[in-house]
């Protein structure tokens, strides 16, 4: 299998490798194939390009147990979320898939990657769910996702044999780890702070990013900025009521286009990842992945990657503090902010003393404003961002900035694969 050092060091102090190869049509037609779901395809792409460095493939039993139990790989590297590939017993039997063989992994019936299958194993999914999420409650979406992984886990190294082609507007935002490093070099950035998002930006988000810029800049000169904010938009499985992905990336980019951020210090890219909502452990995972795309700092706000009341608002901060010596990225902890009617600006309860005049950036309220189609004030959402979000609603969301059943049924895939590469 091919493996190319991209020349940058990632998580665990290891060089990041791209595992991508070109093969001619039909080269693997004699191999058994396994069709992936979208999460598995996203994770193959993540493994192939080095987003999950130092992982080279899907975890074996020993590493899976260690990750769940000790948040660690067998070589001692910090790892918090197991990356596994499962297939049903029936599929494995029908396809005649056996350990020690190469398998073509397909997505939407087209070849995507090659798996050198090392081990197939059963695993106690309930135990896994309790270890990763701290609960077995099936109301937790991550627990449900874990329990759905029927059959056996398949471990082994992965190599992409067909690179994804992203459709507009995602093509403008898709960058591999290598391309992220190249972007920073071109912009002259030495410090990069990641802002993870699944939202269209309101001024509360903008405030967080701007304050994080200062925090991440540390002692670098300010007359020739060498620090950038990277909006890292998580693109993965959607649920009704989420913002549509197109509105997220275009709305975020508009902050730069309209000058609320100087393009010299601002960029937007995608991260293919299906949220597990694992709260603190997922925060650690996000820190790892952002290390592998070259970020030096990562912003963590209230209830990062949490869901419902499963985690306390600042649990992620405490876990990150515990493991910070095993990370190569510096977390920046942010308190929940609000709009203060006295200060006339976005602030938080540690900075001002007008808590009784606080107006919370409630997601429910902002959602109802957008549904009413009422243009927000400049103090709540930048007018250019609102316009861009509404445009995206019309163009991609069947009139809604939020995911509907119709959007889920009819939206085209985020990326496509060439038909002829590698497979039949």
């Amino acid at each position: 299998m091919s493996s190319k050092d991209i020349g940058f060091v990632g998580h665990g102090g290891r060089s990041i490798h791209e595992r991508v190869a070109e093969y001619s049509k039909g080269e693997f037609s004699s191999l058994p194939s396994l069709e992936l779901n979208s999460q598995q395809a996203n994770e193959c792409i993540g493994l192939g390009y080095g987003f999950f460095s130092p992982l080279e493939g899907f975890l074996n039993r020993n590493d899976t147990e260690l990750v769940c139990n000790e948040m660690s790989l067998s070589d001692g590297t910090l790892w918090s979320i197991p990356i596994n590939l499962n297939a049903s017993y029936e599929t494995l039997k029908t396809k005649g898939i056996r350990e020690g063989e190469d398998i073509v992994l397909t997505y939407e019936k087209r070849p995507l990657a090659l798996l050198s299958l090392e081990e197939m194993f059963d695993f106690d999914l309930e135990w896994m769910a309790r270890k990763v999420y701290g609960t077995g409650d099936q109301k937790h979406p991550g627990v449900r996702r874990t329990l759905m992984q029927k059959g056996k886990f398949l471990s082994g190294k992965v190599e992409l044999i067909n690179e994804p082609r992203f459709r507009p507007p995602y093509d403008r935002f898709w960058l591999t780890p290598r391309q992220h490093f190249e972007l920073y070099k071109m912009k002259g950035w030495q410090h990069i702070v990641a802002h993870q998002t699944r939202n269209v930006p309101h001024t509360g988000h903008e405030w967080l990013m701007k304050y994080c810029w200062f925090a991440a800049n540390e002692d670098l000169p300010v007359d020739e900025p060498r620090t950038g904010v990277l909006v890292s938009a998580v693109i993965g499985e959607k649920r009704t009521g989420d913002y549509i992905d197109e509105a997220i990336v275009l709305g975020q980019a508009e902050l730069g286009n309209a000058g609320y951020f100087n393009p010299n210090v601002f960029a937007v890219s995608l991260l293919l990842w299906d949220m597990r909502y694992a709260g603190p452990k997922e925060a650690v995972h996000h820190a790892i992945v952002r290390t592998n795309i070259g970020c030096t700092h990562h912003m963590f706000g209230r209830d990062h990657a949490g869901v419902g009341n499963f985690y306390k608002p600042y649990d992620a901060h405490y876990l990150l503090k515990e493991v910070k010596d095993r990370l190569r990225i510096r977390p920046i902890f942010m308190k929940e902010n609000y709009y203060c009617t006295v200060c006339g600006e976005v602030t938080n309860g540690e900075l001002d003393n007008h808590a009784d005049k606080a107006q919370s950036f409630s997601g429910t309220l902002i959602r109802s404003i957008l549904i009413d189609g009422v243009k927000p004030t400049r103090g709540l959402m930048r007018p250019e961002v609102f316009d861009r979000v509404m445009e995206a609603s019309e163009k991609y969301g069947m009139g809604s900035p939020f995911v509907t059943e119709e959007y889920l049924r009819s939206r085209p895939p985020i990326f496509t694969l060439d038909e002829g590469k590698g497979g039949d």
């Binding site: 001024t203 709009y339 009617t341 107006q359 919370s360 950036f361 409630s362 429910t364 309220l365 902002i366 959602r367 109802s368 404003i369 549904i371 009413d372 189609g373 009422v374 243009k375 927000p376 004030t377 103090g379 709540l380």
Partner: protein, 105 residues
């Protein structure tokens, strides 16, 4: 004490001017970063009727106590009723429900 159930109607410039023109500017509250809205109060029984009339609507019982995701045109009609009746109470909601029931027949 349980929180009151409400429907928030956000005000753009046009709607706010309409309120002011009718001497109803004091109905508007500054809710978030200068965003103005009126709150129309709804009884428990009215809330259930509204949820039946608009199955896509959601009642957020845990945080805001508001009925969300009502169609934009239904909210326009509710706003017009508030202006016409010069109030935002349950009487307005009764009229709104009656009108919406007529429309659905």
């Amino acid at each position: 004490m349980s929180q009151k159930i409400a429907i928030n109607i956000w005000l753009n410039d046009e709607r706010f001017k309409q309120l002011e023109k009718n001497g109803l500017g004091n109905m508007a509250e500054d809710r978030l970063a200068g965003m103005k809205m009126i709150r129309v109060f709804v009884s428990e029984e009215q809330k259930d009727k509204i949820m039946l009339l608009f199955p896509m609507a959601k009642y957020d019982s845990s945080t805001t106590g508001t009925i969300e995701l009502l169609p934009r045109d239904a909210k326009d009609r509710l706003f017009d009723l508030c202006v016409k009746m010069r109030k935002t109470d349950e009487e307005v909601v009764d009229c709104f429900i009656e009108e919406e029931e007529r429309r659905k027949k």
